[in-house]
Amino acid sequence: MDFLIFKAPILMVQASMDGILLGLLFALIAYGMALQWGVMNIINIAQGELVIMGGYIAYFMYTAGIHPAFGIIVSPIIMYFVGWFLYKSIINRVVERDLFISILATFGISILTQQLMNFVFGADVVVAQSNFGTTLLFDDSVTLPNAKIFSALVSIVFAVALVLYMKKSRLGRAIRATSQNPRAAKILGVDTEKVYAATFGINAALCGVAGSLIAITFTLHPYVGLPYTVRSFMIVIIAGLGNLPAVALSGVGLGVFEEFADYILGTEFRIAAVFLLLVVILVYRRFKLSKKREYLK
């Protein structure tokens, strides 16, 4: 336990700001997960690996001399097709099956992609430089890397764009219809197969965007996907499926929680705190529901 944060309140401002910026980035990944969870009823353990893969695309643009920020445009396009391919080759076989099957199958995809990334991209830990500089606030006592601010802004822009797309476009409406009732949608002439493929593609594309942002704010390594998967779970479980403002809010909440946990419990318990929060939230909701003699469905 460390109470430095209470002695130096300015750290609270720093922690909150860091948490909010981080949380918006998580929310972007989580939104993809919520989307495909809601539409296809698939829990995708390979979410984090898709993020890292997207990050490597940005990194390779960077090594080729292009500013990695352009990754947010290129990466989603490539990742959309990666997602589409994954759907067509594996996911479509687990869509209408038990959730446990989808968890295990995507876990298989996850370790397979980790390994392939290790071969293709190399085992080195890499970073892409954005050279965006830093914003200093409150007489230099709070520092915000512009790369993080950029990430948060991009997350917001993509999220808003996606919401509009879901509302306005034909495909977006078909996706929403399918998420509400796949059978009814099918009867009304929606090609659910296509919708599923597109949904998984969009999910992968969102991961691609998030990955490019991670390439310029954190580090990339083939084996660091899992924490992102788990965080998106948490956010989705707190926020529920398909509700973007709630996803954004709980993403920010998680980000801030993590930063504060880091200060108060110590960095070594940061990840444990995230996982325990997941457990606590689930168990709390289970007890709350059990008063109504119901359970989490």
Partner: protein
């Protein structure tokens, strides 16, 4: 159905028996060594560096006539397994190498934690192991007789940096901020720093342990910013080094001295360029050291050959791994025998110079003939290199201290 069970049970038994190819320790003109290295998982970066080091040395030794035992020339060969960056797996593989594959001579894995998991196995089976990447001091207090490490112990890594900071402070104690990963190696480095702090009357103001799945150090660095320590020490393998530099620069954290490990393995100077400038890095080896041997020449030559072979300059992990094979060769030739006991005794009496440094083992198998080096990342017109600053004997440049603040860089 009963018959199915029966046949499966039988099949299992048979497969288990034949599931492994047999390797003999010395067969024809090859001496087979065994190694479990991390080709996958979180240590895959350095596992690969380790393997590259082994491979390069084998190639060189075999090209240059191999190992001469009893008037005959033998070639080295290594049986590798992938330990998946997992100590439990590594211990199992070590046992497998020894028991099933008949390996009599072992090379070390990457990382202290995994070496700690393997050492009890080799020790019990009385199989000598020359390891190059397990620096944990506790390896050398257990009385292991068959373990030989060509590298200096982990606690020495950053002690020098603390001493340097104290010296710069006019001999008075300094305020230290520590961020160490929760793994065997980094925690051992921490022990060294804590001891140095005690010895010099320094105060530890931040003591953060980083999780293994580290991706964000913002909180630790914000504390550093608030408390303004005199020296920040970071150790968290490659990812820790890269994350620290990235976020130090991004958050504009000014600290008079920054000391860390794994700078060369993380290719800090290449990946972060000027942002990494002035970082002090502990290393087992640096190419500018003036040691030399007959196989690789001096450090510069090794650097050149390694780069030609693998496309990037060698981190010290590779150099020490190469050195391990030179030790083996030397020991075999002096023992002039393949008997493990005789080879072990020869290993214990090792006293040689390699391009990597002098090697002489203490009773506990630790290399006591070689100091750690400290280099500083220095940039000149956008091109950054690692310059040795300590020990003074090899210092190619004077240390810059304190590090200029970000606004002046």
């Amino acid at each position: 159905m009963r018959n199915f069970k029966l046949s499966i049970a039988l099949l299992s038994g048979l497969l288990l028996v034949f599931s492994s190819l047999a390797f003999a320790k010395v067969e024809g003109d090859t001496i087979t060594l065994g190694a479990a290295v991390s080709l996958t998982g979180k240590y895959s970066t350095n596992g690969k560096n380790t393997k590259n080091g082994y491979e390069l040395a084998i190639k060189r030794i075999n090209e240059m006539g191999g190992v001469k035992v009893g008037g005959k020339s033998y070639k080295f060969k290594i049986v590798y397994y992938d330990d998946e960056s997992n100590g439990g797996r590594a211990a199992q593989l070590a046992e497998r190498l020894i028991k099933q594959d008949g390996i009599k001579y072992m090379l070390g894995p990457y990382s202290s934690g995994i070496t700690k998991a393997i050492a009890p196995v080799t020790e019990e089976n009385k199989i000598p192991m020359v390891e190059a990447n397990g620096a944990s001091r506790s390896l050398f207090t257990k009385g292991y007789k068959y373990l030989f490490a060509v590298l200096s112990a982990a606690n020495q890594y950053l002690e020098v940096a603390i001493d340097l900071a104290v010296e710069r402070n006019g001999g008075k104690g300094v305020r230290i901020a520590m961020a160490f990963e929760q793994d065997a190696f980094s925690q051992d480095v921490k022990i060294g720093v804590v001891e140095a702090a005690k010895r010099t009357g320094s105060e530890i103001v931040i003591d953060d342990n980083l999780p293994k799945e580290l991706n964000d150090m913002a909180a630790t660095l914000a504390k550093v910013k608030a408390l303004k320590p005199d020296v920040l020490v970071v150790s968290g393998h490659t990812k820790g080094a890269l994350t620290a530099i990235r976020q130090l620069a991004d958050m504009r954290v000014n600290v008079p001295m920054l000391a860390m490990t794994h700078c060369d393995a993380g290719k800090l100077s290449k990946q972060h360029g000027e942002k990494a400038e002035y970082a002090l890095c502990a290393a087992q080896w640096h190419k500018s050291l003036t040691y030399k041997d007959n196989f690789f020449g001096n450090g510069m030559d090794y650097d050149r050959d390694y780069t030609a072979e693998y496309g990037s300059p060698p981190p010290y992990q590779s150099a020490e791994s190469s050195a391990a094979l030179l030790v083996w060769k030397d020991a075999f030739e002096r023992a002039n025998s393949f008997d493990t006991e005789k080879v072990r005794d020869a290993l214990a009496k090792t006293n040689m110079q390699t391009f990597y440094g002098n090697i002489k083992f203490s009773d506990t198998g630790q290399n006591i003939a070689k100091p750690m080096v400290l280099f500083q990342v220095r940039c000149d017109g956008g091109k950054c290199t690692n310059k040795v600053v300590a020990p003074t004997k090899w210092a190619s440049t004077k240390i810059v201290h304190p590090i200029p603040s970000w606004s002046q860089r």
